[in-house]
């Protein structure tokens, strides 16, 4: 049993790609929990995961994580050959991954309706993603890393995939790090959140705390003053009303007329990436 608190930790991680610079990132992924990485397309999620896994080389910084052989990984490009059947893919994984648990893999396939004889290239996108995930889970890796496992899936297939990931998390010590731009995947599933924007970490911490730290505010345009306007992120003006996200600590800066409520993760993310104010 490993007793360090974080399964992945980076210090000052930097990766440059053309005009885009990721970092410097100080990233911590708590051991034993589900961490979701959110951010717009092009914000640096995939680059972060690829750099962690050593698929691309970091320009600076340190990375501490389990040996790559002990990490289950799913990226957009599958590592299986298209003419294989599900069972051929399983055999290839079984041969190359120490600790492969065929019973467990078979049980996952039954529960998530993956037939051993199905051709990999005939699977729907949802079934394909489930197969890749089940293969990555097949040897009970302590850490599973997935890049956008739910992108392009319909709601039912997304729910199914999250259920599959929940099976991974039933094991003691299991950790999961996955990126998504669909924030509803995180509700009631992710324990921690890493929110990246423009190659920087905007927020990193418990999901519950994000929702406590920020509040969703709505009010009449007349409630806005020169002092309280800069407190609002992603201020959106209608004809009479406005809405946006504020820090809960800044609530006192607004009059009694405004409505303040607990935000969804989606609201925080959406308003965060908007420009600070848009004058009409």
């Amino acid at each position: 049993m490993n007793t360090t608190e974080h399964v992945v930790e980076t210090v000052g991680l930097v990766k440059r790609r053309g005009d885009f610079t990721l970092g410097p990132l100080d990233l911590r992924v708590p051991r034993g929990f589900v961490t979701g990485m959110v951010g717009a397309n092009g914000s640096g999620k995939t680059t972060t995961l690829r750099t962690l896994l050593g698929l691309v080389r970091a320009d600076a910084g340190r990375i501490a994580m389990p040996p790559i052989g002990e990490v289950g990984v799913v990226f957009d490009q599958p590592f299986v050959l298209p003419y294989w059947r599900v069972r051929d893919a399983a055999a290839a994984y079984a041969a190359s991954r120490p600790g492969w648990d065929q019973d467990w893999f078979d049980r996952l396939c039954r529960r998530f309706r993956l037939g051993a004889n199905e051709r990999v290239n005939k699977l729907s996108r949802g079934q394909g993603n489930k197969l890749m995930t089940a293969l990555a889970m097949g040897n009970h890796p302590d850490l599973l890393i997935l890049d956008e496992p739910t992108s392009g899936l319909d709601p039912a297939a997304r729910a199914d995939l999250v259920d599959l990931l929940r099976e991974h998390m039933r094991r003691q010590e299991a950790s999961l790090l996955f990126s998504t731009h669909i924030t509803s995947d995180l509700e009631h599933f992710a324990d921690y959140l890493v929110f990246v924007d423009g190659g920087q970490v905007v927020y990193s911490g418990a999901v519950d705390e994000l929702i406590e730290e920020f509040a969703y505010i709505q009010g009449a345009l007349t409630d806005l003053t020169a002092e309280n306007k800069p407190l609002i992120r992603g201020l959106r003006r209608g004809q009479h009303n406005f809405d946006g996200i504020i820090r809960t600590a800044d609530t006192a800066g607004f009059g009694p007329g405004v409505q303040i409520e607990t935000p969804t993760i989606e609201r925080v993310v959406v308003h965060h990436v908007r420009p600070r104010d848009e004058e009409p």
Binding site: G32, F33, V34, D163, R166, E167, M169, R170, R171, Q172, A174, H188, F189, A190, D191, A206, V207, D208
Partner: protein, 124 residues
């Protein structure tokens, strides 16, 4: 143990879990020593996050209703009936206090009316 959670606005999921397990322990449906599902199994079952189940079990342990044994799991604690009664009364008083605070100063409802209402709810 039977627990069902639903995303009701205003009632956090961990509180729903705490409330239901507390009821079952108080009512004697869960006997002392009964093992509870692991944090991870319960999170998977209810489709909630691990932090939610962890918080629920921590609250139940703080109330003395369950015991968390590191490496073994969580078990229903031996409940002292006197203490359980006191907890029950404390919670009722806290909720009564809220009702009084919300109604008294408005001056439209009398204590007698509230007392009648309480009796009616009791008989339901």
């Amino acid at each position: 143990m039977h627990v069902i959670v639903s995303p009701v606005p205003g009632v956090p999921l961990y509180e729903q879990i705490v409330e239901q397990i507390r009821q079952q322990i108080m009512a004697g449906e869960l006997a002392a020593g009964t093992p509870l599902p692991s944090l991870r199994a319960l999170a998977g079952e209810l489709r909630v996050s691990l932090i939610t189940t962890t918080r629920a079990y921590n609250d139940l342990a703080a109330e003395g209703l369950i015991v968390n044994v590191p490496g073994k799991g969580s078990f229903v604690a031996q409940i002292d009936p006197e203490e359980a009664r006191r907890h029950c009364l404390d919670r009722a008083r806290a909720e009564f206090r809220q009702i009084v605070e919300r109604t008294r100063h408005i001056g439209l409802v009398s204590l007698e009316e509230l007392t009648v209402m309480l009796a009616q709810e009791w008989e339901r």
